[in-house]
């Protein structure tokens, strides 16, 4: 392709506070419409905003984790525009003096590290929710529950050059915010939203092309598809001798294309000015240091530690640290039984598959880390076979019972009693005369068949190692 893409992302993250940014209304998602509203967030005359301290601390946390400078003094500004989801007629945001600036985030694509500049992080309040599907072409409905919930907007530099890089950046960013516990990262519910500024220019050119802004992309997949489409669309326009128009576009997943968002409202001129209702926010070094002390170990650092401390492969470490609760689960398992690779295998292969099938979260399951660790220990000690362990695992996952109890109740203990196994082997060999003949004639590959038959006869409980030994011995004799 003769063009290169220039992409910057603006990410809105809803902060995990209990109450709104400037009033005491709950921020809980999914409440009945317009039940979490008050005079402040609905813009009643005379109502005054008071800043939520926890929201400020969360914004600072995000800033520190993203290597930003925390501004000593920042100011809230009014962004003025008329829209029905904005009852005050302005959004309280930050403009010239945002709380964090000049950070970066390292992404890695095809093994190549790349530094993505973060221009700024500012605090602002969210707008309400417009419902257009009202059955009437003339009216929209408005739910103001979300209005004034705290957001941070994280603005990247125009440093991303492909849909994959944009996806990787957003994934990394989400991971960090979730680890910090400042945002739940739920894109479907809109706690994490992304706007992408996309432009193209002839390869090697220094000047930027005209950009289109793709608004409200709510999944990683949509983000990558929307950017891919947009790059191709702009290339076609330029190749056809046309010009790119600076505009806002939306992604239509069903059609697989972006389309221009034409609003009946025109001419945005936000006329920002400092909000006289809010005092300047001053963050001193003592406060910053205190917050620094609360920063948790982030995913990337944790993954590196898992490799060095537990000796598990890098791939495992990456999967296990993708979500903080999963990393905690794994670490808790290892604490109870020191067999990191085996535990990692069970978590990655069995547990994650089941979670996906059941559409469950690791925090919701009955199977406790201690129980999984104990089960792996029982395999190692020869109490149960690996095959039986799968049955026990499912039972534990379904009921939350301990492995020992399940083994006891269902009689699943591995049989290592050579006498019992020998008797069973004799029985099988007596029954399978033809196969024994085959083995004798040199077709030793029927050996596996015998093992299977013995295991089946003993309902999977026989110790496979002992079965192998006895079978070998017996077959040598008949030969």
């Amino acid at each position: 392709m003769k063009y290169e893409a220039v992409i910057g992302l603006e990410v809105h993250a809803q902060l995990l506070t209990k109450s709104k940014l400037f009033c005491a209304c709950s921020t809980k998602f999914g409440a009945q419409p317009n039940t979490n509203i008050c005079p402040v967030c609905t813009g009643q005359a005379g109502a005054l905003p008071v800043l939520n301290k926890t929201a400020v601390e969360m914004a600072i946390k995000a800033g520190l984790a993203l290597n930003c400078t925390i501004r000593e003094k920042s100011i809230f500004a009014r962004k003025n525009y008329f829209y029905p989801d904005l009852p005050k007629g302005y959004q309280i945001s930050q403009y010239e003096f945002p709380i964090c600036l000049n950070g970066y985030l390292d992404i890695q694509l095809n093994g190549e590290p790349k530094k993505i500049h973060i221009q700024r992080i500012h605090m602002e309040e969210d707008a309400g929710k417009l419902l257009h599907d009202t059955g009437s072409p003339d009216v929209s409905h408005v739910d103001l529950n979300r209005c004034s919930t705290p957001l941070i907007e994280i603005v990247s530099g125009p440093d991303l050059s492909s849909p994959e890089e944009a996806g990787d950046y957003l994934r990394k960013l989400r991971n960090i915010l979730v680890y910090l516990e400042v945002c739940d990262g739920n894109m479907q519910e809109g706690s994490l939203r992304c706007d992408a500024n996309v432009s193209i220019r002839p390869k090697g050119s220094k000047e930027f092309g005209t950009r289109a802004e793709i608004k409200n992309v709510n999944s990683f997949k949509f983000l990558e598809s929307a950017i891919t489409y947009e790059i191709e669309r702009q290339a076609k326009v330029l190749d056809g001798g046309g010009k790119i128009v600076q505009e806002t576009r939306l992604w239509n997943q069903a059609k697989g294309e972006t389309f221009s968002m034409r609003s009946k409202e025109e001419a945005h001129d936000y006329r920002y000015f400092p909000d006289p209702d809010l005092l300047p926010l001053v963050v001193d070094q003592v406060w910053i240091e205190k917050i620094k002390g609360t920063l948790p170990e982030l995913g990337e650092t944790k993954a590196k530690r898992f490799v060095s401390q537990f000796g598990i492969p890098e791939y495992d470490a990456k999967v296990l640290t993708a979500e903080k609760p999963l990393a905690q689960y794994f670490e808790e398992c290892v604490k109870n039984y020191n067999a990191p690779k085996k535990l990692s295998n069970w978590i990655m292969a069995e547990l994650l598959r089941e979670l996906k099938l059941r559409n469950q979260d690791i925090t919701e399951i009955k199977l406790k880390p201690k129980q999984l660790a104990r089960m792996v220990q029982l395999i190692d000690e020869g109490t149960i076979s690996g095959a039986i362990a799968k049955t026990i695992f499912m039972e534990m996952l379904n009921t939350g019972e301990a492995a020992d109890k399940i083994i006891e109740a269902k009689g699943l203990k591995q049989v290592s009693d050579t006498g019992a196994i020998e008797a069973c082997v004799d029985k099988i060999l007596a029954k399978e005369i033809e196969n024994v003949q085959r083995y004798k004639s040199g077709k030793t590959n029927v050996f596996g068949f015998f093992v299977g038959a013995v295991m089946k006869e003993m309902q999977g409980k026989a110790n496979p190692k002992i079965v192998n030994e006895i079978l070998k011995k017996k077959l040598e004799i008949v030969r």
């Binding site: 005491a24 317009n34 008050c38 926890t54 609003s263 005092l279």
Partner: protein, 94 residues
């Protein structure tokens, strides 16, 4: 000046009559002339004022308190449908 007044009026959703508009232009002119005088002062060493009172940091703790008058807020709006505010449709979905 007239164009600026028109634009600001549009942004503020005000529709002044032509005669009122003319008055506004005159008034705006005198206000701007008055403020223009500030240009004669040397403000290079003065930090921009963002707030009239010289105090900072008024916070509230992150606690939830339910407002009991939500129904009244809904009823105060020009139109509402059940527990939703109702407004003229503003977006052209195509």
């Amino acid at each position: 000046m007239k164009e600026s007044i028109k634009k600001v009026a549009h942004l503020a959703r005000l529709k002044p009559t032509p005669s009122a508009g003319e008055k506004l232009v005159q008034k705006a002119k005198s206000i701007i002339d008055f403020v223009e005088q500030l240009k004669n002062l040397d403000t290079s060493k003065i930090e921009a004022t963002s707030h009239a009172i010289d105090i900072t940091n008024a916070f509230r703790e992150d606690t939830v308190q339910k407002f009991e008058g939500t129904k009244k807020i809904l009823e105060n709006a020009p139109n509402h449908y059940e527990n939703l505010f109702e407004v003229p449709k503003v977006i052209d979905e195509n």
